[in-house]
Symmetry: C2
Subunit: 742 residues, 2 copies
Amino acid sequence: MIRTRKTEPLTWIVGHAPDRKSVPERFVPATVPGAVQLDMARAEGYPDYNRADNYRRMTWMEDRFFTYRAEFDAPGLGQDRQLWFVSKGIDYRYEIRLNDTLLLAREGMFAPVEIDLTPHLHPRNRLEILLFPVPKRAGMPDDRTQASASVKPAVGYGWDWHPRLVPLGIWDETGLQIRRRSHLREVDVVYTLDDDLSGADLRIESRGAECEECRGVWELFDDRGRCAARAEGAVGQPLAARLENPRLWWTHDHGEPVLYTSRYTLRDAAGCDLECVEERIGFRRIRLVMNEGAWSEPAGFPKTRSAAPAQVELNGRRIFAKGSNWVCPELFPGTVDAARYETLIGIAAETHFNMLRSWGGGIVNKDAFFECCDRRGIMVWQEFPLSCNCYPDDPEYLAVLEREAAAIIRRLRRHPSLAVWCGGNELFNNWSGMTDQSLPLRLLNALCYRLSPEIPFNATSPLNGMAHGHYLFRWQGKDVFRMMNGSRFTAYTEFGIPGISPREVLEGIIPAEELFPPRPGTAWEEHHAFGAWDGDPSTWLGLPTLARYFPPAETLDELIAQSSLLQGEGYKAVFEEARRQKPYCSMALNWCFDEPWPAAANNSLVAYPAVLKPAIAEVRRACRPLCASARFARFDWKEDETFEAEVWILNDVFARTGPFVVTVTLRAGRAEERILRWESPSVEPNRNTAGPTARFRLPAWDTDRFGVELSVEGHPEMNACYTLMYRRSPRKRRCTSMNVTE
Amino acid sequence: MIRTRKTEPLTWIVGHAPDRKSVPERFVPATVPGAVQLDMARAEGYPDYNRADNYRRMTWMEDRFFTYRAEFDAPGLGQDRQLWFVSKGIDYRYEIRLNDTLLLAREGMFAPVEIDLTPHLHPRNRLEILLFPVPKRAGMPDDRTQASASVKPAVGYGWDWHPRLVPLGIWDETGLQIRRRSHLREVDVVYTLDDDLSGADLRIESRGAECEECRGVWELFDDRGRCAARAEGAVGQPLAARLENPRLWWTHDHGEPVLYTSRYTLRDAAGCDLECVEERIGFRRIRLVMNEGAWSEPAGFPKTRSAAPAQVELNGRRIFAKGSNWVCPELFPGTVDAARYETLIGIAAETHFNMLRSWGGGIVNKDAFFECCDRRGIMVWQEFPLSCNCYPDDPEYLAVLEREAAAIIRRLRRHPSLAVWCGGNELFNNWSGMTDQSLPLRLLNALCYRLSPEIPFNATSPLNGMAHGHYLFRWQGKDVFRMMNGSRFTAYTEFGIPGISPREVLEGIIPAEELFPPRPGTAWEEHHAFGAWDGDPSTWLGLPTLARYFPPAETLDELIAQSSLLQGEGYKAVFEEARRQKPYCSMALNWCFDEPWPAAANNSLVAYPAVLKPAIAEVRRACRPLCASARFARFDWKEDETFEAEVWILNDVFARTGPFVVTVTLRAGRAEERILRWESPSVEPNRNTAGPTARFRLPAWDTDRFGVELSVEGHPEMNACYTLMYRRSPRKRRCTSMNVTE
């Protein structure tokens, strides 16, 4: 939302004290938006918190009371003007005072602050924000459970890819505004598309302008600046308008993310424009509908319910959601700006992703995130800040959640990229312990119903029929190929394969003497390479899994190559298998896209701050709208076994295409075997085509891996390739290879 | 709720016309509450609609406009009095006029009507209620789908045990009230129990009394008439009170359904009592919590959510819910009175039932139903009137649903028997087609959250983990024993075994010449004996299933005995198996308890109007809080097979008991074989005890059935007995029995 009013920043200083009543002994310059930890670290000369275990230097700040202070002279206002203090986000519990008068006491980082300072102004003024310590639920250990009675993102309390570092401070745009006495507080534009999408009825409501003689003029401009609709009326009265043949907003892979501009102008009795509010609007209808085939399950009796719907229907089109789980790209959200969002979301779009799940363990992003997704045509599955905890039915918590969630909904509902509201992450699994009866989730459903009924709402992820995990290449004797081939779910909204970070990232966080070989107890461990997750000492570097497939790495680069191969082939296997399970399956979102600090190893595709891991190239291939694909029973093969590759053409495009000629070739060292030529039928719109299974008895090769190449004649952009592991059979190795390898 | 004001009935007449504008040509006396169909049938001398196909005589009334009319003289009111028209229910869409002035136009049978007639009174007055025809969703065939855009119970549109007969008319208490200008509209008493249930904080809110100088006096009396708490204050101000050590409300099988009396008195400035509102209150905490073991599922990855919680926790105690599905005991709910509820609920209590699921296909019962359940200690799972349809997201429907549902919630939430709110019946299965995203269900969740957050809410039944069905003794080659033994669900909220009605019921509905043998195309079919359900011509009489187990019945009484045996043994099998699956399973509610008209065959336990079927005696045995039980692999056995009986002691009592000595005896004709003696350990509170499996090779018996008796030494009240089928092996039969049977 763009207003003609401007927010003037203030110059802040910050200090801390051990209790609420004490005045800080010393103030240091503060960057706003930012975080108190960053201000203190700068003042104290702390080393880079991303490196080694330096972040621990900030731990002491969790339990301090911080005070932000800004001084300013009262501006000349005249009769018709007011001075407002506004903030889009102060994290977390705080009191705001002007010249020692308490103006606001509040808990919650998402509800915006708007305070008319005018009645309290002196010629010289001191504005103070007292921040309370990090909220911690009483009686809980130093982990995420401390976040379980507040609307504070849980991730900061420590996660398997996030150090314990809980941000505090002013984290979004904040400053002073001069406003007319009669000014707009809010303009809402709500539309209802015709069933056939051929037109839209619009309702425009403005609030706040207490100006009886004023009028509101509303105009809608298309993306070429032409006025497409207009309405005018008394301020405070809802306006109605009609738009014929709207150009619809589509995800980038299915069309154009068309945006209109809505402009509401407050006009006084003399016809002078006082103020205007502008926002981008996209016309689209988004639904979650039943997955194909899901209604016919369960069969038999006694019979339970069918699965929860997980199929995105955008503008009447059932589209496969490909994407990833978004986490805040910084430990301190206050430092994230539009350019940062732009870079990362650009990478997502280039990876053929059309959905990001904004995970409930983290913050709800700033406006720029959604503006970027609107523009780039990427859907957002937006969770409320609840994750992996049992949030209580307490009235105090519910009151904070209600205010925060309502503010989140009012802020985001205008964005066409907003595709799904979700109560939070994994709340209906045992490590969280919430249920359909939990009042926080019933409250969120009620709020979304009241404030944003046209957007689907899921209580949590996963719901029945949907699934999370696994997060390893190999688990309980099964590799990711077997795990996925044996699964049948409507939506894979989380799945991960760990991969090491690129060398440049590792060198930035791990002291040179610790770099190789990686060992527990070093910066590798601080950065999640060992014992990061679920009590498994091998997470996330996965040395035992690497050892299963590869000889011991002799250099860091070799280790990086091994880990990257598994991550790339593993992720490709999951994305492609999820796509092959279409139409029953409708979603594949890997865990996770980015990361908030440089992990040594992580499930992420993009290392901090925006370094592409090799695996993302494989994911990009797996997510091409139209491509060849092969299903394999497993990752590692042996001499004399009959290798099998089930050949597919994956198609998410809404056009008939083909026929194609696909050949399957194996490459092992210098050996090359063409094992199949398939003349496919033509490919139906938005339907995959299953082809034949190629079979080939694996000969004696002098290699530890082989490539499988699917070539599509005349369509190299559809080609696919895979790397699989190979082993000679021990007996044969003795007989035939002695001269060569031993 | 008892008020000191009295509702004076009016004398009504009723007539009909083909359209909205026409005045009925003729009026006939009307019984209020009742139904227009009954008034017309009486006036026209129609024969008993319960017999044969006589109900079809009423079909023409569906599409007529009916007008109720009552005339009355204005009473002397003076300055301080008003005359109100009040009704607890008018079915379905109507307009109310006084002396031709339109006072109310409304759709919905549940929201009460309260209209101040005073400003419109003449010396002589004519009150008219114009009823619109039966609501039918446009474009739908003549079945339940016609009910899918209104808050009209779907059952009247035809069900497998209900004829097509859609009631219309004034169906609950209706008449005139003289009120003071300053009168109470509503008194709400809300309590919060301490976590340990040792005390309750009460908040009392009154609405409506516009009387600044008046005071409200609230008193709480225990069941011995002693004042237990008291508060007093200005009218309109909430009162607060505290009750220490409340005696808790329990279901009849776990304690006493203790009720207190709340009395709110409106007192004028002079200290005179103007009016009082009394209601019964029970103190209890009801929750749905996770079933034991349900958190550990699913295992493995990819992992979906855990089951929805279905375990009732009453006052901190996890109790097994045993009961049945309640349907309106009359085709015309207007004719149901307190005595009728009393009789039926009394039978439920005697059957050891502690829960009734008030099914969403029917009406929400009158106050007397809930008052009786409060008193008898039976929990009510209350559904909103949505069933087996896809109710739309239309704003018009949602507006009616919101008003109706809010009225239902406000009326019922005060009852301690109210245990679960539920959006409706089987809405997440394919024959309905609603999903978690359906706005009607999100609205109901939101309303219940706002108005009744302390009561659990389920969007529908079944949810994941819970199950409905089967409804037959045998299906796809499996009998009910095999179906149930192979199932694992948290709650069986519907399951049925059909049974024929007792002879007295059959004689009342089927002409003598059609009575035996039953044939399609006769009154048997009108009364659901053939082709009633799901395209299955054998429902509900089940002749092919009877033929599988029994020789052809030669008399009606023989047929009744065969059918009743299957129903009794089948129901016993399901209830006992569900109990054996405790604690993972926590609920067993059969389909259905009663019936609204005499079915020839039905899943019901009580035939119309309140005739016990033999099966209910078996269900009563299966539901004893403490009893012996045996699990069988199937119903029918053969000579030479090794018969197996897994012996259990089922215990829902919260006390340690036993040890017991259980013997298992088989009886076949005069043969008697004691096949096991088990000395059980002592039985844990609220825990079943699994004993040994008795095995016995079945000898040559000259019988078609045998009995299995479990005797508990010194505790005959715990004994169990079963009847199973037996067949000689064909070869042996030839060799050894030729002389006897052939």
